[in-house]
Amino acid sequence: MRTEDINVCILRIEGTNNEQEMYDAFKRLGAQPSLVHLNEFSTLEGFQCLMLPGGFSAGDYIRAGAIFASRIRSTFGDELSSFVKDGYPVGGICNGFQILVELGLLPGDGQGVTACLARNDSARFECRHTILKAVSPKSCAFTHLIPEGERLIIPSAHAEGKLLLSGGSQAALALEKAGQVLFKYVDEAGDENAGYPWNPNGSPNNIAGICNKKGNVFGMMPHPERTFFKGNEHGYSGKTFFESVLAYIGETF
């Protein structure tokens, strides 16, 4: 389908607060984004993409993303499962990633909730620019236009971004082997094991973003929508994520 016919649902509740920049990103590329409050949500029908933006949905008071995830489950949980099964892309940035993990859609092996985004090792909110190395970008709808090994500067801003998997480091390795690890935090020289502050949250294996097996559910802590215009030396920026998913939808549906 044509880009100008692609409808993107950007879902929000109280405390969601990165929705405008996500809206702008899709709008600039010619798609049709809509900001939809969960109270006004009726169906995913007619939408080809669902985005969960960053922020502090419902204050993140129980656990980051837990309240929004539970409200999504009770409002349109079944419809969302079919949406994912049909191959439509679902993306979550920052709080959105936390929500997708709380929904069990990421890593999404069909086993329910198998991961969590735990408090940063520094035990504090960290706002800093991070360098991400693309590990297996080709496997995901949101990143397939980024060449493998490419390094992008994408800002991070979160207090709970340490990705813990229920299987520990073995699960992380398995995830990487399955091509589901999209990005890792690295330093200026590209070193994956540079530690803090290059890895701002202490994520084991320096994982910054992942996708499900099928590659249509995507989540990451850093914010591509915040660096839409600022490309790296090869011209890749946050913009490429949005171009990727629109290209995927255009080719698939």
């Binding site: 405390g15 008071y61 620019h129």
Partner: protein, 766 residues
């Protein structure tokens, strides 16, 4: 059982003083006598709710009774063509472009933060956001200037009833972080200043900037008779009772227990949808007026909105949604519970307004209506409990309090040059006022909304230095940006309130020019001691004149502000602190200049004149040297120099630029090195002694890095406008090398400078 009590004012004067204390209204005996004669004409005594309302309206915080005279005389008449609607309302409105305006608000939340740092600072953010939203503007940036006693203060020095500055500092930052990040407005600029004088009374100033289409600009006044008052947001509770009267007296050693209820409880997750809903209702043209509930709560908002429109109001107090049972009517009326906004709405548009708030899960209820008569009537449980003339309530007294000048004897200091300049530079970089504030800054989301094109930390990743000003590009499709800075040096103001205040404006203008922008507007938050003490009142009047001295020549004026007096506690008065928020405009954000050196082989220039103005300098404080002259400001030179730099930056003739402030030239050069890793070979010449040349804090100075091909035109422009400029060296290698009149003074690696400068606050705060 809640009830309304009559208060007998026909009692001896001594009784009146006791009555003021007992009711917590903070009214003076003279003010109570004025009230007594008003009620004599009415033929009755006031009820408690009426007296409480007057206490709120006539508090220093609400009616500026001590400062108004000086503000009117020196500041308020200054005007600039870009000003649209300034001083009069909760935020000043300034033209952004032909279609848009920006809103500026700056306030203090000092007393609550001293008692309860987390809640005090969080609700400070909440309050300043509402000040911007009530103009119909979308908040786009927060600015937080903070002032504490050093967090290393020994426990034994902390008086009874005072919380340790490390606890206060940490709690204040937590509060700003948790509120600002949750509502999703970037905290982009500010300052963190340490001075022992803030021990008993920290200062938490909060600024906010918003953007609105000019056609959506709304005012804090009702439209006409029959308009409904719709109260939206959180419930009204017993948090925040007597906030303004508490803020209008000195802190006491029992304030923690006696005034805890004056501190409000913040809830960003009620605020966030409240902002969306208010702005949506305004954009759909469903409101005739909008105002936030801040100091004085309902008691201030209803009367002020009605009177500003030329009308009165009738209120049904039972309609107000409450957080708790059993509140006295006067408590409901003066409560400063957070997250509340008042709208005036035509009856035919009420349903549509209520539907918007329902979607956002925000409570909104009708609590009254506009009437023609300029009086306010309140009914509660079927009875009228309040009936007063609105002009009488709202006008408030104005005082010209006695002044006592305090002129300090001029001391010519005698001191030797330091033995080792590298050690001195190291010690300066480690001073809490100069060292990196990234411990604070990184806890704030400074990039949410994705409009921050130049954040407050700038440079290579993981070795960023402080920016002079942060820049936001607020509109999709426009390269125009706004630059933000907050400045004041209380050490200087304490020595000389006039030149100290003037220097604060100079620094704001400097910071704005350094990033390539032009000063476009200012806001001031005047934090001073007890105005009933003549020497404190003199400081206020001097500082206001100092602000006017500089601002009157800048083509930008004070568009908004706040006066916070009575900043005194068990440990004495805080240093006089006129905080300045400067807002600059840059036509094309792509031409913005940042602090870190960009490449080797550039020429370095010192712009401006260095003088022997060492009083209160970081160097003198480090070495505990008293005396010397305070830096003065020549506003004409400042205007010319700042104009040149903005023009040169716009023409992309400046690679990097940094203003010279605390620590002088040597520290400015170090900060430019450490953010990039690029060094400099600096060879200064001059007639001053070397330490004066390196560490003087004379105003109106910058260091600029210029590409060799632009040097002739750079020099030519500054010289043609009589701005002193001197080539002082070039960027080179990876270390900072400084020589003066041929004498080698320091050679320090950029990597080492970064560590020296970055570590101190982390060592203290963990």
């Amino acid at each position: 059982m809640a009830h309304v009590a009559e208060i007998d004012l026909n009692v001896p004067d001594a009784e009146l003083a006791r009555l003021s204390a007992e009711t917590g209204t903070g009214l003076s005996v003279d003010e109570l006598k004025t009230i007594r004669s008003y009620f004599a004409q009415e033929g009755r005594n006031p009820r408690d709710i009426e007296l409480q309302a007057l206490g709120q309206a006539w508090s220093e915080h609400c009616c500026y009774k001590s400062s108004k005279y000086y503000l009117k005389r020196y500041l308020f008449h200054l005007d600039a063509p870009q000003n649209l609607c300034v001083i009069k309302e909760d935020a000043g409105m300034v033209a952004f472009d032909d279609e848009h305006a920006y809103a500026v608000a700056l306030e203090s939340h000092n007393h609550p933060s001293a008692i309860e740092p987390y809640g005090g600072s969080a609700t400070g953010i909440g309050g300043i956001l509402r000040d911007v939203v009530c103009m119909g503007a979308q908040p786009i940036a927060l600015v937080d200037p903070l002032f504490f006693a050093p967090p290393t203060t020994q426990r034994a020095l902390v008086p009874k009833g005072v919380k340790h500055p490390k606890f206060i500092f940490s709690g204040v930052v937590d509060g700003i972080r948790d509120y600002g990040n949750r509502v999703g407005i970037p905290t982009v600029a500010g300052m963190t200043c340490f001075h022992p004088g803030y021990l008993g009374n920290c200062l938490v100033n909060v600024g906010c900037i918003g953007l609105v289409k000019r056609s959506d600009l709304i005012h804090s006044q009702v439209g006409g008779v029959g308009d409904l008052f719709v109260l939206a947001g959180g419930g009204t509770g017993r948090d925040g009772i007597h906030g303004v009267t508490f803020a209008s007296k000195e802190l006491a050693d029992d304030s923690d227990t006696s005034s805890r209820s004056a501190v409000q409880v913040g809830d960003p997750i009620t605020k966030e949808p409240l902002i969306h809903a208010c702005l949506e209702a305004n954009e759909k043209k469903l409101l005739t007026g909008l105002k936030d509930l801040g100091g004085g709560g309902l008691s201030c908002v209803v009367g002020e909105m009605a009177l500003a429109g030329g009308f009165g109001a009738r209120v049904d107090l039972d309609a107000v949604h409450l957080k708790e049972e059993g509140m006295e009517p006067w408590e409901i009326w003066v409560s400063e519970s957070q997250e509340r906004m008042m709208m005036s709405v035509r009856p035919e548009q009420l349903d549509e307004v209520l539907a918007i708030f329902k979607t956002w899960d925000v409570t909104a209820v009708v609590i009254g209506e506009v009437i023609a008569e300029k009086r306010l009537h309140i009914r509660w449980r079927g009875e009228e409990i309040y009936d007063m003339d609105l002009v009488f309530v709202t006008e408030g007294p104005m005082y010209q309090r006695p002044l006592k000048p305090v002129y300090r004897e001029r001391i010519v200091p005698r001191y030797d040059e330091p033995d080792n300049y590298a050690d001195t530079i190291t010690a300066l970089l480690r001073m809490p006022g100069i060292a990196s504030k990234d411990w604070v800054i990184r806890q704030y989301d400074f990039e949410v909304r994705a409009r921050t094109v130049a954040p407050s930390l700038t440079g290579r990743i993981a070795r960023e230095t402080h920016a002079d000003a942060a820049i936001i590009q607020p509109l999709e499709g426009s390269k125009r940006g706004l630059a933000f800075t907050a400045d004041v040096n209380p050490y200087l103001v304490a020595l000389d309130p006039f030149w100290g205040a003037a220097s604060a404006v100079d620094e704001a203008v400097r910071n704005i020019a350094a990033v390539g922008a032009r000063a476009h507007s200012f806001a001031d938050c005047l934090n001073f001691g007890n105005p009933e003490k003549p020497e404190k009142m003199w400081e206020v009047s001097q500082a206001i004149q100092g602000l006017a001295h500089v601002a009157s020549k800048m083509g930008a004026t004070f568009v908004s502000g706040n006066v916070s007096l009575y900043n005194e506690g068990p440990a004495g008065a805080c240093p006089p602190t006129p905080t300045i928020m400067g807002i600059g405009m840059i036509e094309d954000v792509d031409t913005a200049v940042t602090v870190p050196f960009k490449q080797e082989g550039s020429t370095l220039y010192l712009v401006g004149a260095t003088k022997d103005e060492m009083a209160a300098s970081a160097y003198f404080r480090l070495r505990k040297i008293e005396g010397g002259d305070v830096p003065k400001v020549n506003p004409y030179l400042l205007s010319a120099a700042a104009g040149c730099l903005a023009e040169l930056a716009g023409a992309e003739k400046i690679r990097s630029c940094h203003d010279i402030s605390e620590g002088g030239l040597a520290v400015a050069l170090a900060e430019m090195c450490l953010g990039s890793g690029i060094g400099a070979d600096v060879r200064l010449t001059g007639t001053l002694r070397a330490d004066v040349a390196l560490f003087s804090e004379s105003n109106t100075r910058w260091v600029c890095e210029v590409a060799p091909e632009h040097c002739p035109s750079f020099e030519e422009m500054l010289r043609s406008r009589s701005v002193p400029v001197q080539a002082i060296g070039r960027t080179d290698g990876t270390s900072l090398h400084i020589a003066y009149n041929g004498r080698e003074l320091a050679d320090m690696s950029a990597d080492a400078l970064y560590v020296i400068w970055q570590q101190p606050l982390w060592e203290i705060m963990g």
